[in-house]
Amino acid sequence: MAVPIMKQGDVLIASMQEALTDRALVQLRDELSDRVGRFRSRAVIIDVTALDVLDSFATRTIRSIAYTTQLRGARTVVVGIQPEVAFAMVQLGLKLDGVSTALDLEEGLLLVNEGAPGDRRDGR
């Protein structure tokens, strides 16, 4: 099952669905890295709201996806880590070093648009 990737302006949004196989995660990494170049995307948001488990493999893969798209020049934010999932990750000793996170898609979009022309936070 492939991960749907949405293009919203110069932001790519990948919404991970329930129960991703390892193969789909690897496919997502290659696909995002390719599209960042094709669409000249400035930012990538990886939405994990639907995931009820982030084990060490999934965490490592998300980290490598984020590092890859960051190296391709796109600011990358992981959004929607559920409270129980965050707690389990801490217990497991898993980190997303060097990767920005945000509460949800809305906060993630605000974060990647920070400092950009038309910044929604300007003038608040």
Partner: protein, 133 residues
């Protein structure tokens, strides 16, 4: 044990099945949402070890009851190569498969009880339990 669920682990899709069934059982045993997630994550780690190191095996799930306490037991077993150095395998960050090395020590932290039995050439059995609070 009656009422056990056995999930054969042969490819990575089975990892997802095992952790979903584990979560269902944990929910049916009255474990909280957080505890269900810890159980599902621990199952994911040990089931992945089977796929990576032994290629095939099984995860057995059973409900537990002890003096009114309820919980779940997870047994992950395979007839794979076994673990040459179990003490090292239980150490954070140690891996022979170029992974994070968080699987076994991580699963231990997620659960209340954890037991590793392994014999070279014979296989590995991980038995772990989580009790409701």
């Amino acid at each position: 044990m009656a009422g056990d669920t056995t999930v054969p682990i042969e490819h990575e899709g089975d990892i997802v099945t095992a952790r979903q069934k584990g979560r269902e059982l944990a929910a049916a045993s009255g474990l909280s949402m957080t505890e269900q997630t810890l159980v599902a994550t621990a199952i994911s780690e040990v089931a992945r070890n089977i796929v990576v190191y032994a290629r095939r095996g099984e995860v057995i799930l059973a409900a537990l009851e002890d003096h009114g306490r309820r919980g779940v037991m997870v047994v992950a077993r395979d007839q794979g190569p076994g673990i040459a150095n179990p003490a090292l395998a239980m150490r954070d960050g140690y891996s022979t498969a170029n992974s994070l090395g968080m699987g076994l020590p991580g699963a231990k932290r997620l659960m209340d009880e954890f037991e590793l039995a392994t014999t070279i050439g014979k296989g590995t059995t991980v038995t772990m339990k989580k009790w409701g609070r």
